[in-house]
Symmetry: C2
Subunit: 335 residues, 2 copies
């Protein structure tokens, strides 16, 4: 049973816990600072498949299987899975999971998908609609580049504000169990569009929505950044992170000492040529389902905020001159 | 608070009711048999916009505004909206709703989206996570044709098994209120893929998933078709409907006398040249939020099953030789 707190925040009363989690990444992510955190990787990012889209589907399947194995559950234990990705018609998810026989809810939140799915999985478990639910998402640098930007072979030059789509996937299994990190509260984000039109500057497009959701959560819960061990955003990168600091400070909240962005954690910007940082659904998904949950296990984290951040554009909307709407969903995870 | 029944069915115990609903359609739909049912239409299907994608976004906004007006609610009363569509990255929804300030959850179920969104809105209200939630989806013949098939100007010949994407949108507002039709039970569908590869025969690709979900619901609830006033599918069309009859009969359920397909209701196949019938997210959405709920109001319906049916393909998956996974979600609506 849930209840509402303030204007936009939901409190889960039955402590839906993350009982299992899995992460999968590509070759470049394994060269980054978090390489020791991930469960699985592939050395050429093809995962044995003949197309990058199929490789992305394969990653989702591996992430779910890994998460299930780590909590000794099987596919038939999962009452519903929330899954989505960046590919047109979310085929990364539907083809990746079609053989698993799990009731399937497709979600689309662009790079906010991990948190969106986790909230809905938590809601199902908290309410009794599911005994066990799952959330998974993915992105792949090569499938994203050719869909959103240019063919890889074209070798286009990327501006410094651009981000590098993470090749990765992360899955969480949610059920009610004592002693595991649980979703205590959640805030569904609103679409925020301040008119940013540069598709090579997603951080700037997403930062206002991250600020909006975070400030709404602080207001609803009468808490401040000091109340949390850490505050994560999904993939604002360097440009978006700096904008988030400005926007939250304008509203009286200084998060600089508490904040990490998954897009800045996953790559070393100095040596890995990723410009403003990592991005993609797989960025926050793979960091949450490795680095973050590992730190709950080791006792470093007891109470965090985790926000995935999404840019709700399409190549068609950009070609039609539209600006880029952003959205950020938030979960408060405690143990 | 919800509980589970059988293997896959969820029972809502707080009677989340559809307190408002709205429908919007294009010109061709207004020439069909249900013309008197719809709230709003546009005579040239452009809705005053300069692109078909923007027209689709406009339809979603109108559908939500219409549904809100009919239950005397405003945008600020809605705690969360579930929205999705067929366009790449679901831009029909994100651009249609971005100005409304409603917490936004993107969903993707292809043509199953209306029922998927309605279940999740019902779940939020039933559990207390929302006092008032909404679900909306849309499709547009012209934006779908150019994205999935050919430019309209090319004038390609369509085979008889093909369906005509409905230009339309439907929105439902869900809250707890006595005396309105409510979601009593729901079944999340599983992905079913029997290997159909013909993207001009969506009915055949979706029918196995519809049969799977329906049979699972009958088994879980120990009910039969006789227990319901009517059983609706979203957009199986003529080919898919006939296959559904065969598949359900193989499992001991004869639904012929109880069944209607929204894709067969919305157009007159003899005079409207739509081949196997209507399709698209907007098909089941516009029929549910007009024809179906009108019949609850007039007392004709007291207990129905409503299933939207989706085909989870993309042009890329088809080009890569993939078959077409289907999915069908089900709600049992009563008054």
């Amino acid at each position: 049973m849930a209840n509402r707190l303030g204007k936009s925040t939901v409190v889960f009363n039955n402590k839906p816990a993350i009982i299992g989690y899995g992460s999968v990444v590509g070759a470049k992510e394994m060269e980054g600072p978090l390489s020791s955190e991930f469960d699985t990787h592939d050395k050429d990012s093809r995962f044995g498949e003949e197309s990058y889209e199929k490789a992305e589907s394969r990653m989702q399947k591996i992430a779910v299987e890994t998460a299930l194995r780590k909590c000794s559950k099987s596919e038939s234990d999962i009452d519903v899975i929330f899954a989505g990705d960046l590919l047109n018609q979310c085929v990364g998810s539907s083809f990746g999971l079609r053989g698993m026989g799990i009731p399937f809810c497709g979600v689309y939140g662009a790079c906010s998908t991990m948190t969106l799915g986790l909230i809905l999985a938590g809601l199902c478990v908290d309410s009794g609609a599911a005994n066990c639910a799952a959330a998974v998402t993915s992105s792949h640098f090569c499938s994203a580049e050719r869909q959103y930007r240019y063919p890889l072979e074209y070798g286009s030059v990327r501006p410094q504000s651009s981000q590098w789509t993470v090749t990765g996937s992360g899955a969480s299994i949610v059920s009610i169990t004592e002693g595991k990190p649980y979703i205590d509260k959640a805030t569904f984000g609103k679409i925020v569009d301040l008119g940013v039109k540069d598709a090579n500057n997603m951080g700037a497009a997403m930062a206002p929505s991250a600020a909006s959701t975070l400030i709404e959560f602080f207001n609803d819960t009468s808490t401040t950044p000091d109340d949390y061990d850490r505050i994560f955003t999904g993939d604002l990168g360097r440009v978006g992170t700096d904008l988030l600091y400005i926007l939250t400070e304008q509203n009286g909240y200084n998060i600089r000492e508490k904040h990490d962005d998954c897009g800045l954690l996953i790559f070393d910007r100095k040596s890995q040529d990723v410009h403003a940082g990592g991005s993609g659904c797989g960025c926050s998904a793979s960091v949450l389902n490795s680095y973050v949950f590992h730190r709950f296990e080791s006792g470093i984290f007891k109470n965090i905020l985790f926000m995935s951040t999404g840019a709700l554009l399409s190549p068609t909307s950009t070609m039609q001159g539209e600006s880029i709407p952003g959205i950020s969903h938030l979960v408060n995870i405690r143990i």
